[in-house]
């Protein structure tokens, strides 16, 4: 069966669902599932449809354009298997998880390359025939470092950059060059413990839950739109190191879950929030 995905977001207006679903039906397409949401604060309408049937993309787009507000975002069948580049430092646990799942086809994407500012993960990466690029941040300016990152990244023209425990803060200039295309995993349930050493801070605060947050990166560190969060219980017997160990599994799970949602085109961004049609 031919399955198609249709994404729309635009200013809300009366009758949008009717108009859109009529266009779809008139072209003989069947709606398998439809999810929509109007964000009250912004009055923006978001919609995701899965369609079956024989698709004439040009007609669908033209007919939709004639019915929905100008400047509407419309995407028909976004790229199914997106290209991603993974950034890493030394911590292996998210990279390891994603490369393993990628190898067995569980990650609906193509990992084009790993770029890291240390060489620790080279051997592991290359087991999977994924190119590994070592770009150190040492002995160079941040500008120079990021220029090298960008140059190497652009070789692969990725749809997404995934910060799989990349421990360098990216500049606003870098981020704005890949707007809404960078996904990060932060090792706390944001907004608790923003910044570095969240497990140490969690230990010192004596929390009874630790967690992880996958989010889209914008210019404010740890302030980008949150995709997924999860927590696990801890108790007084957990040292900072125990928390970090226990947290590894949560970080993996959360990053994979978030990445899957993005790769399946289920995530819209609105300001610093996400609308997710799971």
């Amino acid at each position: 069966m031919d399955k198609h995905i249709l994404l729309i977001s635009c200013v809300d207006q009366l009758g949008l669902i009717s108009k859109i679903s009529s266009v779809v039906s008139d072209l003989g397409l069947n709606i398998i599932i439809m999810r929509e949401f109007v964000e009250e604060e912004t009055n923006i309408f978001f919609m995701r449809m899965e369609l079956s049937g024989s698709l004439d993309s040009e007609s669908l787009l033209a007919n939709l354009r004639s019915k929905v507000p100008q400047n509407a975002f419309i995407e028909i069948n976004p790229k199914q298997k997106k290209d991603i580049v993974l950034y890493a430092t030394k911590e292996y646990h998210c990279l390891n998880d994603l490369l393993g799942k990628h190898y067995f086809g569980e990650l609906p994407a193509t990992v084009k390359a790993v770029i890291a500012n240390y060489e620790d993960l080279k051997d592991y990466t290359e087991k999977f025939n994924v190119p590994f690029h070592y770009i150190t941040h040492e002995d160079k300016s941040k500008e120079q470092f990021e220029k090298e990152l960008i140059d190497q990244t652009k070789v692969y023209n990725p749809d997404l950059i995934v910060l799989a425990k990349f421990m360098r803060i990216l500049s606003p200039e870098f981020v704005s060059g890949f707007s809404n295309k960078i996904i990060n995993i932060h090792h706390s349930f944001l907004p608790a413990f923003i910044g570095s050493n969240p497990y140490k801070k969690a230990f010192e605060r004596g929390v009874k839950l630790i967690g992880a947050t996958a989010h889209i990166v914008n210019n404010d560190l740890d302030e980008g739109p949150i995709i997924t969060q999860r927590v696990i219980p801890v108790d007084h017997t957990f040292s900072t190191k125990n928390m970090a160990q226990a947290g590894r599994e949560v970080e993996r799970n959360v990053l994979f879950e978030a990445l899957k949602l993005v790769l399946e085109d289920r995530v819209f961004v609105s300001g610093n929030k996400t609308i997710i049609f799971s």
Copy 2:
């Protein structure tokens, strides 16, 4: 703002969403939120809409009827504050929770009465000015007992009967008289530990999770459509009694959650399954 609820289920066909949403739009109604689902095994379409605007129910119903398959189930603005009768035995914990929430308006329903086969919960119930009817099952046939239950229940003509720890098994005859109108809480994560003494069975099996299941009652004991389930961790230190104590809170939470979903008309039943638009 006038908010309306529209529920439809019928055999699926091409263009249903378009037809329904056009009828709605043509009457000047705005779709606040729409959720739909087609169940593959049965080819049945289920839909729940929240609408705003000035409603002419008769026109809406007539126009919908002219567009959707014959025999479609269509409901416009189901009763907002449903009448419920609670059945209980001796265990207080679900009754207590529901009556407390009812008192403060957190339960979107009117508790018309409590019927119990013991008198233990009379004083508590009457604190809330809710009538309490004591109908013992002793010294009478099951038929006679159920006849008395039915007679007393029918006085209140309830939209729902909630078995808030009612420890008697209702006969198929009883159940068929209140089809899809009886909600039960079972103290296990069904289908594990069907029947009596689930915490004892859980203890003996050495499970590491215990839970509760709220479901709609049909003729097969503990086999009705599941609405909500939740579990909590236990360990080797939990006796059967400890499990039952810990389980009380889960049972309360699960029954309340399920009941709210039903009272807000978010639950469709299809065979022994539920479709829930939460």
Copy 3:
């Protein structure tokens, strides 16, 4: 069976467990369960034992004192059914839950009174034959308000004060008068969303989890030792109001869980952390 509880905390030293358990055994007492922990940062030893057998408290205390470091905290059979005073404002949901459980003996404590700065919860409280004291904060200084609170509270000489949604900030003077005896429920997973309006902040941040934290109150607002935390998932469809509604159930659950742990003498405080032998 006679069951006794023994609590000890002191500077750690070699052989403490051996010394303590020998004292206990030599007096013919059986250890039902023993839990201990040494906090690395402070080198403090914490222990909780449940004992069975015929107890001579004075001998046990004297023998223990002769074996453990000076200034050790030793408590034998702390008061089993503690007296508590509940403070409230207008929000009913935690008060309602605790009074209901108290009525049925599920809360191992005696609720001596409710003190509130509004009268909204008077009728409900009095249903349960619990005295209700209305002390407004209006038209008086904070000092005066707290003096009245303290005077009324001291009438009951409570073991614990439970802030069951008491929406006034208590002064350091007040808090120091009831050191480690005040338990609060905060409607966020601390340290996220410290201070007022956490659900509004959670909504604005676009988090995918909301939660609640029960903690012991010290002089830094929302910074006291955490006892229990729990979260529930939310999504983009949740308004601030929806979050607050969903949060009510978590707040209840968390406060009750924390309170039970304290009432069962399972919670030690060390600095701004808790050691909990659950």
Copy 4:
């Protein structure tokens, strides 16, 4: 710091903790953490200690033997990095997870070999320099198949066999040859959905939770002592296939968690239950 582990289980008697801890202290060892439990039904005492200090194993064992009941199980410093053999069929997800974690030292064990009744996972396994043995079950009796399994397994003399999605049922003869040394992951929250196709059964029953159970294998299929269980929510939109996909991550997490507990000598078996000092 020298860290030692001491495990004891025996018939309970008065003063055991005192005797054991005195032996330990008298040898100058410090108790870092001690956990114990007496199982009421069997009157068996279980204990796990972590000790620091200079250890004379022979003296410790001799002194303990002189104090605890005859036939006590005593183990001092069980093998720290156990040897394991993984059994697999075609499903990659648990094998993949364990081999990845093993590579980075996150699994405190040595994976000596993978044995599988299909060749699908050969390439992946050999990336990690772990021997892969293909032993088909086809065209031979079950006896013959198991004999080949046993012969190949015994080459590695493993401490544990981990059934990382091994889809053949092992005979009682096989199991009794590796008593309490085989760990399985079952893809349901047992005892729900015992046997084959649990996700299909879960789909048909319409449950709102699916889960996984890691357990020690005994002669009754899916009836062995449970180590770890976890569930995730599902809803009406999940097909059997969706459940199986979502379940993969839970199965991985649960098997890894259980295996870690066993490898760290935190799991005692008593009948068909486990006592776990986590």
